[in-house]
């Protein structure tokens, strides 16, 4: 009684499940590594390493910069900036110039995330927003055929989606699905290696770091829409498997669409969100102006998110 101990008093609950934002970021980065290292760095060499490193580094620096400017606690430790930098790099060609990367991470971190209030407040996926703005501003630097012109590959160095869009199915005749799965295609640094992306995605889904409902319904939307096109005119439209494994489809399904802040949390909205995203991707690819619709369709479903999340079960004890 003379020397009472100072006990900690706080509000219940007194235990925590142990998850945290840094842990979540870490696992998302881990899940992306197979696709980035095996699919990107080994295929495209040192320039891919440079783009990925520079992208992550600049994303984190932009985060620190905006923290300092806005006089907020430095939030780079939560790993979210690193995740954004990494996913952004996954979508870039290995030959992207430094200023292109720097601008992109600026758009993603500052315009895409921080000016809305930081993590959890961004209405759009920061990476998708950055890529979309870059695509409109300097589209040539995302033209993979052009960007990999000086590379030597042991496979046909054409971007499959451009080939099928401009030259029809004959142009992708030699492309085997196995090639796409093994990353024998050109494309974004982390977007070509199908097996790596699928492994990473499955890992994130079973660990609960992303919502499987969104990823699977996105892929389902891609598959079914592509299948319908394929059935209607098999001579013009590529098979659904081709669409699943080319372009940004897998990255979008596992790393862009399930981004927490810009996606719904209730079951039915998640399914609609994903399915609409997949469907729009194929609509843009098959009948739209752009080669790959994944980025724009992600932005579109981000826009639908607040509306979709109004579809929710009736709360307990709520009268009418």
């Amino acid at each position: 009684m003379n020397n009472p101990k100072k006990l900690i008093v706080s509000h219940a609950p007194f235990i925590h499940i142990g998850s945290s934002i840094p842990q979540m970021s870490l696992h998302i980065i881990l899940a992306a590594l197979p696709a980035v290292i095996l699919g990107g760095m080994f295929r495209f060499g040192a320039s891919a390493v440079a783009v990925v490193s520079f992208s992550i580094a600049t994303a984190m620096l932009w985060e620190i910069a905006i923290n300092l400017v806005s006089k907020k606690p430095v939030s780079v430790g939560d790993g979210n900036a690193a995740v954004i930098g990494l996913i952004f790099a996954m979508l870039l060609p290995a030959t992207a110039p430094w200023w292109f990367v720097l601008t992109g991470t600026f758009i993603a971190i500052v315009i895409g995330k921080q000016i809305f209030g930081g993590m959890g407040s961004n209405p759009f996926n920061p990476v998708a927003l950055a890529i979309a703005i870059l695509m409109i501003s300097w589209g040539d630097f995302l033209d993979f055929d052009e960007m990999y012109r000086h590379f030597q590959f042991d496979f046909i160095p054409t971007y499959p989606l451009t080939a099928v869009k401009h030259f029809g199915l004959d142009a992708i005749e030699p492309v085997r699905l196995m090639d796409l799965l093994l990353g024998r295609q050109i494309g974004g640094i982390g977007a070509t290696f199908g097996i790596g992306l699928i492994l990473g995605g499955v890992y994130l889904m079973i660990r609960g770091f992303i919502r499987w409902e969104i990823s699977l319904s996105f892929l389902g939307g891609v598959f079914i829409t592509a299948l319908i096109f394929n059935i209607i005119d098999p001579s013009r439209f590529a098979s659904p498997f081709f669409h699943l494994l080319t372009g940004y489809t897998l990255v979008a399904a596992f790393f862009l669409a399930p981004e927490d802040s810009s996606s719904p949390v209730n079951f039915i909205p998640m399914l609609i969100y994903g399915a609409v995203g997949g469907m729009m991707t194929i609509l843009i690819r098959n009948i739209g102006a752009y080669v790959d619709g994944a980025i724009l369709s992600i932005l579109l479903i981000n826009l639908l998110n607040p509306l979709l999340d109004k579809i929710r079960p009736k709360t307990l004890g709520k009268v009418a």
Binding site: I8, S10, G208
Partner: protein
Amino acid sequence: MVLQCQAAKEKGTHMMKRSFFSVTAPRLQVDSLPGVLPDSVRIETPRQIMLLIEETADNGNAMMLRKGDPVKTGQKISLSTDSKAYAISTVTGTITHIEPFPGESGKQFTAVSVAVSKEADPDESFATYCDSPSLEGAVNLLGCLPGSPAFEIFMDADKPIKTIVINAMDQDLFIITAQYALTAFYHNLTQGIQHLKTITGVEKVVIAAPQDAIQGYGDIGASVMGIDKGYPEGLPHLIAQRVAGHEIPVGKDFQDFGMAFLGVEAVASLGRSFQNKKPARTKMVTFMDKNGNRSLVSTIVGTPIRDILKRFDLGLNDQDRIIIGGPLNGYSTYTDAFPIRPDTDAILLQDKDDVAFVSDYPCINCGDCVRVCPARVPVNMLIRFLEAGQYEEAAENYDLYSCLECGLCSYVCVARIPIFQSIKLAKYELGRAATGEAADE
């Protein structure tokens, strides 16, 4: 995913972690009684006890209590003749202190400390009551029995009670007090149910018991309803819903549907009191030390936690935590002088290394809380309004009052937001605003 609390109890409160596969929301279970009923550890009558009366001493009524007043075992102690709140002394002795005592969630108590004398001198008021039991008598004398039976709900003529629900579900993880009372106090429970029926005139009595413990209660005088052991199925709200067969609308309480809830230990205490012709004073408490060693403690109401620690030869360090109740919906106290109250089911100790901290991060909208919420509250939206202090909006549009206060949202929160605390604060502030408005009129 079933997180096994049985495993947790061996390691204490830091073991309740996320499972590797987390496709679905985590599912916690309340513990089961060990197959062999554990012996309870008896705590000797302490030299000093503290009784908490939920009333402040400055309400203008004449104080009936004085320092130095003698009290008898079983004597009713209240601050003034008009006050409804009271405590029953569990010892004979002398009042040494009367002081204000801040409780959890803004409650204000008056703490009455009694120095225990050697000779026990029983008070006669209970014996008188035994000769002519009545509901009024129960309200006046038995509200502080171990288990804290709330008899005054039977007095409301506008809301007649048709069903008495005896809750034998432990209210949180780690706790086995209610299950123990159900099993060990069978005889007293039967007597208690009989007596309850007599004084209230209610014929229908339902015992809500864990699914695996519903056998063998054929002659107890009540029907037994099996309840899932997944947390929070044992909270009164969800049990009431099962008894009523429909959801309890927000803003209605159990009495509106003719239900009254009593704890299983309260009913057993009632039976025991009549058997012994003196009010029961021993409370069963689940006690868990920092390493997760669990014991059942039987001690008189008013025993300071300090004395229980002494019995187990346990010390505390700075920044440790004493949790009263369970890890998800209990409350913590700042002093080991805090007494066992009639409704204290568990005392948990937590080492400072195991204390789960909260953060000031904003919601990242991951939706874990939404999926784990038993009331289907849109917690992700709710917390945004709560953090902005827009409580009315939160109540109106985002179902603040549907919350069952189970604490699971904070437990799973990736950003470690103190969601449960924000919810309680919002309800408290709205309640205060409402009483303020009522006072103005």
